[in-house]
Amino acid sequence: MDLSRLEQVSEFEWRIPMRGPMRVPGVLYADPALLLDMDDKVYEQVVNVATLPGIQKASFAMPDAHWGYGFPIGGVAAFDPDEGGVISAGGVGFDISCGVRTLHTGLTATQLRGRLKNLAEELYRTVPAGVGSTGKVRMTHADMDAMLAGGASWAVGRGFGTPDDLARTEENGHMLGAEPKAVSERAKERQREEMGTLGSGNHYLELQEVAEVFDPAIARAYGLAEGDLVVSIHCGSRGLGHQIGTDYLREMVMKAAGYGITLPDRELACAPIRSATGVAYLGAMRAGINCALANRQIITHLVRQAFRHVVPEAALPLLYDVSHNTCKEERHRVDGVEKRLFVHRKGATRAYGPGHPAIPEALRQAGQPVLIGGTMGTASYVLAGTAAGMETAFGSACHGAGRRMSRHEATRRWKGREVVDELARRGIIIRSPSLRGVAEEAPGAYKNVSAVAEAAAQAGLARKVARLKPLACIKG
């Protein structure tokens, strides 16, 4: 990205001034190196989002932002329904409520020594991963609707996990306002055999060691200490979410003109929040969130089963579960006035500051855990939401490392076998059904996750709590 097109506000905050049809400015949080590495398309997309009706404060891009469709990935935008605000399927993404959950194990990485490979194999056998894989849970029509209405609560009711898990999941594991009837039969059909599957692409299941603690007080509140072994799961709403995205992107494109919305590009398809399409999408998207929460809950159960076989002494309570492709109705202050807004976070994580009532009581004073998925060869991060972040980007932070090169370029540079062997030399075990998939996800295809986490911290979006080092990764 050309920095001369930006106004520098501080070392980690840059502004795109309002021009033309922009209703608000653009704001990018990143250091110069991250910005220079960002595609110019991110600039275009931040500007395009700033033109949409009812947008509040600014069109934001997080430090891991990259070129998406419609909205940038790493984009945050909030809309006021009282000012004609819109909701956008492209502003949420196809993988609705894709997210990360991290589990404690009660063990240190050292205590696992000698059993790591067996555990990785057992996890690979137990958790379905990759293109064409199917889950072990068969869903009737009634099951499907109950799951879409109930989310992780439904899964726990079916024996996949415990009520304690729900308390450590955003929305207590149950997104209210879901409308299973707003979800098409095609979407439900796509999901029929996909409950409890990891998916493919950048989705993973990883054994990690807490390699560094930056904020001992918050780490203590989160139950993290250096040397701890944790498990992180990154996946979303599977075929159901993808089909909801497809269905409503189409409907929004077809109906935009009828709603009086002029789209600079079809990829910005959206509908007024207070319209039949907007209301239907909201209900379907919330059902998609429940699907993702239920999916991660079932995978959690499978992870616990695998551990029981190899590491029976481990207990696996949930640290937290965050989603990073959502639109949520939230209260925020804009110019001193509290408003009810619909906050799109596409490839961005909610990061509520200390004291927020949505945070589980045990974690509330520390701020919301923000789980940042990195790469299988570098690191992941645990951050914490801040009070300052609530005042800037609606309590939001980055979601991952963010890609820096296309999949095509990655396969040109790396071979899957070489990546697996190189990581093995560094003590990291990779298990995946696809070597090409591993090459496309090579650590070098991503930005420097440490720089992303640092930029989020320096911009005041979140505090750095801990760095997690990968030990074994099951790639979809």
């Binding site: 070129w67 196809f94 293109v131 995205g245 077809m254 998939g437």
Partner: protein, 158 residues
Amino acid sequence: MQPDAQETGPPPGAARPPGWWEHFPHQADMGVRGHGATLAAAFEQAALAMTAVIADPARVRQNIKVSVTCAAPDPELLLAEWLNALVFEMATRRALFSTFRVTIDQDAAGVRLKATARGEAVDPVRHQPAVEVKGATYTALRVARQGGGWIAQCVVDV
């Protein structure tokens, strides 16, 4: 908007077959582009390009045949409909397709597509499928006459 192409069809300088496909880069996802003498041929090649996002089409045998129909107000939206119909068939049948036969009719009401796709169930070992396609987007969506033929392209979300 037409990002620079990365060739995955015939090598540079080689004679172009009547229809061919390529991928074009997108930072997170993948651009698929079909070239054909006719609109229908370009749609066939775009579908092949989408299969190639997932796996090498040459490794996909043709044991099953699926019929697809869809319609849209214009050819660009029809391309998205066509690719999304295939994404649905791939997802629910856990299959990949490597041969497509498309016919397209156009009248004042819009455009309609009828097609058959041939392929087989996913074999993880033989196909080494890298990634699922979640859906076709309207990003870089373009269907147009070009150089005496047609191109049909968009970015697919993976």
